[in-house]
């Protein structure tokens, strides 16, 4: 079993994820932000299934390894869909939603093809390696897409507070996750770097819950206040 700190962060993250779903039902926004809710529901489901497999088979078992990598790939896919749904919110009024969905599917297929090409050389544990590779590549694509979405938010002068703060929180999450991952490679001998990823996992549901709780769909902000350098 993981240590007490790691277990605490795990439970806290799961509670916060569940908190977001409850909050969005309470604020009558479950269907409007369906893919964000779906991501957190899948995350909660993954946590439970990982917990049971961990308790049943142990941390070093093949079963837990498979469960971990497959649920991770599934969650990354769900987060990717959540990001695409935010694109639909931003571009919805321009009637670009159909093109956004089509581009997202093509990009996903391209990423999956690239991931397969990378792992195809090694026949050993092909499916697990593919799940891991797809997950990593989708995180990178997610970071780039969030950056582009933020550019679109500024360009289109988006005023909906909820949408703006959802996009910014996602950008913070992806950037911090990428930085944490790089730090893990740079300074793996320090034990604190192992906790960066799980702690960041708590940040996203927390900030989205606060946004959902504090603002309604009518909340607006001045787009001019968002740009750091006045135009």
């Amino acid at each position: 079993m993981p240590g007490s700190v790691a277990t605490f962060i795990w439970y806290l993250g799961t509670a916060l994820e569940l908190g977001f779903v409850v909050c969005s039902i309470w604020r009558k926004a479950f269907l409007r932000y369906f893919f964000l809710n779906l991501y957190f529901l899948l995350a909660v489901g993954s946590s439970f299934s990982r917990h049971f497999i961990l308790a049943w088979y142990g941390l070093t078992s093949d079963q837990y390894r498979y469960a971990y990598f497959y649920t991770d790939a599934l969650l990354t896919l769900a987060l990717y869909m959540a990001l695409v749904s935010l694109y639909s919110h931003v571009f919805g009024e321009l009637h670009f939603s159909k093109y956004v969905r089509l581009s997202a599917v093509l990009l996903l297929l391209g990423t999956a093809g690239f991931s397969y090409a990378v792992v195809a050389q090694s026949s050993d544990r092909l499916s697990t390696n593919f799940a891991y590779q797809l997950s990593q590549n989708l995180y990178f694509v997610g970071l780039v897409l969030t950056y582009l979405l933020w550019g679109a938010v500024l360009k289109l002068r988006e005023t909906r507070t909820r949408v703006v703060q959802f996009v910014l929180s996602l950008g913070l999450y992806f950037s911090a996750y990428a930085a944490g991952y790089a730090l893990l490679n740079l300074a793996s001998r320090y034990s604190f770097v192992l906790f960066i990823g799980p702690v960041l996992g708590c940040f996203l549901p927390l900030s989205w819950t606060i946004t959902m709780w504090r603002h309604n769909d009518d909340s607006r902000l001045m787009p001019a206040h968002l740009v750091a350098v006045p135009r």
Binding site: Q165, G171, L172, S175, Y181, A182, L186, H225, L226, A228
Partner: protein
């Protein structure tokens, strides 16, 4: 080498998103009209200056806390400290940044004043509820 490059790039985007996140928090409270009580307590007539932040934070600590304000206040507090640090270092080398940083610090102070106003209203609500019993 690659990991170091990814680290630097992701830290840069992290900083950019953090600044924008703090600005969105401040922008969401910019439409708030200050009550007479908070204007009397703080001595701020229309809008705060960057130097007011520390004083308003002290006043905030005297009021009952609203849990939903805590993360936003923490983020803006970090942003304010970052700006103050940059003002003492970078702004001395590039004086044109000084005006922009002062505006940002004033924005942070205004955000804190709005939270103070909300906390005062919250305290009044609690007192009114206690009075009903």
């Amino acid at each position: 080498m690659m990991a170091a490059l990814i680290f630097v790039i992701s830290l840069t985007t992290l900083l950019m998103f953090f600044v924008s996140y703090c600005r969105s928090l401040m922008a969401s409270s910019s439409c708030h009209k200050l009550s007479k009580e908070v204007r009397d307590v703080t001595g701020i007539a229309a809008s705060a200056s960057g130097g007011d932040f520390a004083r308003v934070m002290q006043l905030l600590q005297l009021c009952p806390e609203r849990p939903e304000d805590r993360p936003g206040l923490k983020a803006v507090g970090i942003y304010y400290r970052l700006l103050s640090m940059l003002e003492k270092t970078v702004a001395r080398i590039v004086p044109s940044l000084h005006i922009w940083m002062e505006q940002e610090r004033a924005g942070c102070a205004n955000f804190a004043v709005v939270l103070l106003d909300r906390r005062i209203a919250f305290s009044r609500e609690i007192l009114a509820q206690q009075g009903e019993f």
